[in-house]
Symmetry: C2
């Protein structure tokens, strides 16, 4: 493509309303333009990247035998009422009334539509398993759209859905899709990690997220330093410290802690580490009463884990200060597990702490030298906290470190959540109707583009991985309008490179070299070949990789060969 | 693709709610499934066709240098208010309120969004002309969606928009696009015709529609039998009959025509041809008064032509019977131009009629032997009627015949309708802001699929033109599970054909030959190759084209060569 026919709309200005670097660079590189809050037009340069990602996704879906379909974006309310999500999905669901006042939504996902399609089309177990996918525009009415296409309202998604006679077949397809996802993200050239994940509101049991690793990622991921173990911190198991609990060594004593409420305040006052203090959080119980959650002072409660505990109310609700004072007789900052007249759940790490400090259930007082079993009954054991760096990996191999990621894929074993609600059955081998079992598999196609930039950029701009770069090679002609030699050599090279199968942007613009170089760096083209009079005198052009700053003189007739050696992926 | 991995969801039942053959066949062939009124899921078989059409369109757009973008489907109301179409577009526009009660629509077209994009991006005349396009899902809230994807509410459209400094540049790009459209429709293998068209509500002056010719088409097109002339009958000029008006030959006389109101009744009563009677239609005039439109009895008023006449009110409104009786003194069926106290516009053919019959402006009476200029003043001349078969072609070459077409493309020279309303300017050569001039170019991608079927089908099913067939070749294996020879020969042939670049559906299903043949005919694959034990004994397979019923024995080792000779396009 000639730049004279493929205008670059680059800009030096950093857009003031773009908070993250991918958003800034996509605007500055002229990849996208904002239409309204959370709505972006993909400009020609951005669309080239989006289409390359889309192609990789499509190829790998086809390879595993998923059948491509194209469902309507607009979906009738009736189906969402059948599944129970018309109300449950909340305001993310963009509801629409047509001219006849019939209710629809702009689909944020297509479980209902595909389940309806399958229940009308698939009649027998012999037609199973079957897997459909589509690549399509979705809409989620985010309360605060932000970060450009990273959390836009309208976005491009690949969603796939598989249907099975039983769980065994689902597990098989799930594994196939897991492998396909691994190939997809490997092929994009991005550093990524599949992680165990929570299934959240979508339902089902087993689930994995695929994260592009980037310091700016919204999600924290716990990864073993020795094994393959990786899990969203929401889910990562915090196992018990190794060995037995240390023996009690100190006597129980009450200390005055006037106006000291937080762990920081109390540990500072008493001159001990926060991990020697236990904190007690009071939440509403599943049965209506109160429940105490005890954690080490240096640990954070994991809301999702707490909520999943059968003794705790769903959704998780902290008891109000008033209710605590009324029922337990002191302020929340002075609560401790000793003598507490409600059920006590202790996190595994808290349970392994001896001679600990905790609230005395009297305002202005704490207890020290407290020991489980000696000074108070052994509590219920529970995994309640978020893992931290240095925790042992739950698979017993190595220690966890915490890294950050951007979720770009999510696969679920849904089970029968939708098929049961929507009565999607087939005739089984025994001739009886049997409810289908279902899996679903999503990829945020447009989000991958932004995530790739978060992971790959420097102070000059984007640094594309080759497989998804808008162009592989930038052919930059210097002072072409003044030099016939440059014009002719450039034209010949452009033909040669495109004939060799490269995706080339030929910068044939009448602009200063500095302007051209800055543009090419900003838009992040992996390989740059500069054609100038000086080099041509010696029969050379200048090569530079976007990933390093060294220039290399290359003989014109060896360029193709040289480029082959420089291809990163 | 193996049919065992690409399920065909064919059906013999004719769907009761499908009125036209393409809708019936698309449902029966398993190309689409209905989700709700005017909303269809494209199943794998249908999507293959849609994607082939899409590819042809994209390739030709890229060839002429149009830049692909991808705009949001959801558009803010503010832009439509700027252009004046938020109210004007009517109920076809699907309006949406987001969670913050801000107004949006699901875009039925993107003039506003692209004009906004361009006014923010293009600053100088040096960046012109520029042409953007996209292939995208649109929504039009049709009052009565029908005919499957032919008039669906959600549909796939290619829309392109060009921007220019002046009309000359627009005219150039328009011509380029006209040529690209001609190539696109030629490449689909469909019989089509570009026709002059009315610009309707979208604005602008010059406009052409591209029609796929089919007897079931909604639009009537007038085509010259000798020249290239073709126009939508809405627009086709009805020129004056050749020569002078015949001389008056009969005396003026009043005849009693009690209770005879229509042309048919009057001409039957008086024993003359309907073309000898003139009918007089009373409409509201541009200034508020009434206006008479006079046509030959055998001709139909063309509403669009009438509406464009400066003397006539817009939109066209027929005068009520009450107002006619009150102001003109008789019932509408007895109105005639003689002595009428309002302006009289006569169609050119009516003007050339001598000794005509018309209403006498008294109930129950008509006049006969009436002659313009003798019995009443010469009226204003106007082209008011729809052309009919046999009319002289307006370009002076040959006669018109009327054929039917399905509109699949429409190109417009919009001029400054949107750019003026939305203040889209660039700096001109003189340094002064200059309003952009604009063209727009649409193709109904999903509609092409249905139109192709309307044009190409028989009693057994669809007969795809090769370039857009879901598969080019059906390889049908007979009794494969019982014959190793058939299985092995089929597998080898499948490899050979796909390696030769053919898009092959290998029907490897365990089904009766009749079932397979019927399916392959129904889904319309152009070439069928049957592998059976009988033929294999002689080293042959059986070839049959979807377009004829003769079978041909072909030697296995000559098959590829033979297929090359049978390719239609």
């Amino acid at each position: 493509m000639r730049a004279s026919r493929f205008p670059l709309f680059t800009s030096k200005e950093i857009p003031t309303d773009a908070e993250i670097v991918s958003h800034q660079l996509m605007l500055r590189a002229g990849m996208i333009q904002k239409l309204a809050s959370g709505l972006y037009t993909w400009l020609p340069l951005g669309l080239r990247v989006l289409r390359k990602v889309e192609s990789i996704v499509r190829e790998e879906m086809n390879k595993v035998g998923a059948l491509e379909v194209f469902m309507p974006a607009v979906q009738p309310a009736e189906l969402w009422e059948e599944s129970g999500r018309w109300e449950q999905y909340g305001k993310l669901l963009l509801k629409i009334k047509d001219r006849h006042e019939r209710e629809f939504c702009f689909g944020p996902t297509h479980e209902e539509v595909i389940t309806d399609l399958v229940r009308r089309q698939i009649k027998s177990y012999k037609q199973l398993p079957i897997c459909y996918y589509q690549i399509q525009t979705k809409f989620r009415d985010e309360i605060r759209p932000r970060f450009g296409v990273m959390r836009a309202r309208e976005f491009l998604m690949k969603d796939a859905y598989s249907f099975h006679l039983d769980q065994g077949s689902l597990a098989e397809t799930y594994e196939t899709m897991y492998a396909a996802y691994t190939r997809i993200f490997t092929r994009t050239g991005l550093k990524f990690r599949p992680v165990q994940a929570d299934t959240g509101n979508i339902g089902g049991s087993v689930s994995h997220e695929f994260h592009v690793l980037a310091d700016s990622g919204e999600d924290a991921i716990a990864i073993s330093d020795t094994s393959d173990y990786a899990a969203n911190v929401e889910l990562a198991e915090a196992i018990a410290p190794p060995g037995d609990r240390p023996a009690a060594g100190k006597p129980l004593a009450t200390v005055e802690t006037p106006n000291q409420h937080t762990i920081e305040e109390v540990s500072a006052l008493l001159g001990v580490a926060p991990e020697q203090c236990l904190k007690t959080l009071i939440v509403e119980g599943a049965e209506g009463g109160l429940v105490a959650l005890v954690l080490r002072g240096d640990h954070q409660l994991n809301d999702i884990k707490a909520e999943k505990h059968p003794a705790v109310a769903t959704p998780l609700r902290f008891a109000s200060a008033e209710r605590i004072e009324q029922e337990l007789g002191c302020k929340p900052g002075s609560i401790g597990p000793v003598g507490l007249p409600i059920p006590v759940l202790a996190d595994l790490a808290a349970l392994y702490t001896a001679d600990f400090i905790c609230g005395a259930n009297q305002d202005g007082k704490h207890l020290q030298g407290v020991n489980w079993g000696r000074d108070l009954p052994e509590p219920q054991r529970a995994d309640l906290r978020e893992v931290v760096a240095g925790d042992p990996s739950p698979d017993g191999k190595g220690r966890l470190h915490i890294t950050r990621g951007i979720e770009v894929g999510h696969i679920f074993q849904l089970g029968q959540k939708y098929t049961k609600a929507m009565d999607a059955t087939v005739l089984g081998e025994n001739g009886q109707p049997q409810v289908l079992t279902m899996g679903c598999y999503g990829i945020g196609v447009s989000r991958i583009v932004a995530a790739a930039i978060e992971q790959n950029h420097d102070e000059h701009g984007i640094v594309w991985p080759e497989p998804i770069a808008p162009f592989q090679i930038a052919l930059v002609s210097l002072n072409m309008n003044k030099s016939t030699a440059v014009a002719e050599a450039s034209e010949a090279l452009y033909r040669q490179l495109t004939d060799a199968g490269y995706d080339v942007l030929w910068d044939d613009r009448d602009a200063r070299p500095g302007v051209k170089f800055a543009d090419i760096e900003l838009i992040g083209i992996p390989h740059r070949v500069v054609v100038g009079d000086r080099g041509l005198k010696n029969g050379t052009v200048e090569y530079r990789s976007r990933r390093d700053s060294a220039n290399q003189e290359v003989n014109l007739d060896q360029l193709i060969e040289y480029l082959r050696t420089r291809q990163s992926v």
